[in-house]
């Protein structure tokens, strides 16, 4: 295996799950999300020699994925994805965690209802682990705008959870 191939394999193992989840929440379709991630990695493989630093690989992959998503959405801007596309999921698909299955399902349904322009920076923060400065660079907006958007995203989430399930969620009191 060449050095490029071993680097690529490491990038797949390290980031493909995060990229898939990011794609899934933005396109809200499992097959499309997988296609987007595969396309992202194929593009990354073809231009792996352009990756200057391995440390910036994750952000680079996220940026490629954003472009892929925009390409797939065609003329539709990413922040205009119709909420009609949101599909209902079986709560049993979710991982068990601190939250119960139903609570997780409710939280995810709320997440799907967040306006895309607020959802994207929130996902980059929650899934990508980026700070507001880094997100601003990635989606080409100022840090202040990023802070406003993620703040509104969380406010919308809280409000949706309060409206839909005032008694089931422990946080929003």
């Amino acid at each position: 295996m060449s050095r490029a191939e071993s680097t690529f394999e490491a990038l797949v193992n390290a980031y493909s799950s995060d990229l898939y989840r990011y794609a899934y929440w933005l396109c809200k379709e499992q097959p499309l999300a997988e296609d987007l991630v595969q396309e992202t990695y194929m593009r990354a493989w073809k231009s792996l020699d352009k990756l200057d630093k391995l440390e910036s690989a994750k952000a680079w992959l996220f940026t490629i994925l954003r472009r892929e998503l925009s390409r797939h959405l065609g003329k539709q801007r990413m922040d205009l994805v119709a909420l009609d596309h949101v599909t209902e999921e079986d709560p049993n698909l979710f991982h068990d965690g601190q939250l119960g299955k139903v609570e997780t399902w409710v939280l995810r349904q709320a997440l799907k209802k967040i306006e895309p322009q607020y959802l994207e920076p929130l996902l980059l923060q929650v899934i990508g682990g980026y700070n507001c400065d880094e997100i601003g660079e990635m989606i080409a907006i100022k840090k202040g705008a990023v802070m406003t958007r993620v703040c509104r995203a969380r406010q919308q989430l809280r409000q949706l959870l309060l409206d839909d399930n005032p008694t089931k969620l422990r946080l929003v009191k």
């Binding site: 690529f8 797949v12 939250l99 923060q125 929650v126 946080l171």
Partner: protein, 237 residues
């Protein structure tokens, strides 16, 4: 910053370690509770965002990459092979043309004649004893006909390319060895000229359709045959 500002800051960055925020949280119980609740919510959100990744996704990506890499390697190998073949082909063809055409074009007519004879030395071994009619069947396309060559044997007669034209190659016997006569239509010269290499000597004389070379190892035979041919050749032009 007031409580609203602090809470907005926390909503934008729940784990913020900003000094002003930390200081406010130390002094404000409500905001501190808000911050703690937000951290719990953040943990739940983080967990909720982790939808199940399709099984084998990483393997499928790696497989696709390896297939693409293999295809690319094959393509590069194929292109390299094709390029090498094309280069070799070009070199061979270029060499062929530069040797057979380029050099011929740059050669004098005398050099062309001598090279032609040396390239076809095996005709000097022919003893076909051809009739005049047989010779004329070769010559008829070149504007010349032979009436007769009394006392001579004609050992070979055949069409052959002379530079860019079709000529005729005739071998006439003599007591001191074969004499080559090349009829060269289109190879016009102003006057009779001599040619010579290590083995052969000869002359090139003008004819109505171009020129004619008479070449032999024994020079004494050349002028004699030249005179005979001058008397026996009918120029059909």
């Amino acid at each position: 910053m007031n409580c609203i500002d602090i809470r907005n800051q926390l909503l934008a960055d729940p784990g913020s370690q900003d000094h002003a925020i930390r200081s406010h949280l130390n002094d404000c119980a409500d905001c501190s509770r808000f911050a703690n609740d937000l951290l719990v919510f953040e943990s739940d959100l983080n967990r909720a965002s982790k939808v199940e990744v399709p099984e084998g996704l990483a393997s499928r990506i790696l497989l696709r990459q390896r297939l693409a890499a293999e295809k690319n390697r094959r393509k590069k190998y194929g292109m390299a092979t094709a390029a090498a073949f094309l280069l070799s082909f070009t070199v061979v063809i270029s060499s062929f043309f530069s040797f057979n055409l380029g050099d011929v074009d740059s050669q004098t007519l005398e050099q062309v004649v001598l090279q032609h004879i040396n390239d076809e030395l095996y005709h000097l071994q022919d003893h076909k004893n051809l009739s005049v009619q047989q010779v004329n069947s070769v010559l008829k396309n070149h504007g010349n006909q032979l009436k007769a060559l009394p006392g001579r044997t004609i050992n070979y007669a055949g069409a052959c390319p002379i530079r860019n034209n079709q000529g005729a190659h005739v071998i006439v016997g003599s007591d001191s060895g074969p004499i080559t006569v090349l009829f060269m239509p289109g190879e016009f010269i102003e006057s009779r000229s001599h040619l010579k290499d290590k083995r052969f000597q000869g002359v090139i004389v003008p004819t109505g359709h171009g020129s004619m070379a008479i070449v032999a190892e024994d020079p004494q035979q050349i002028e004699q045959l030249e005179r005979e041919l001058a008397a026996q050749i009918i120029d059909l032009s």
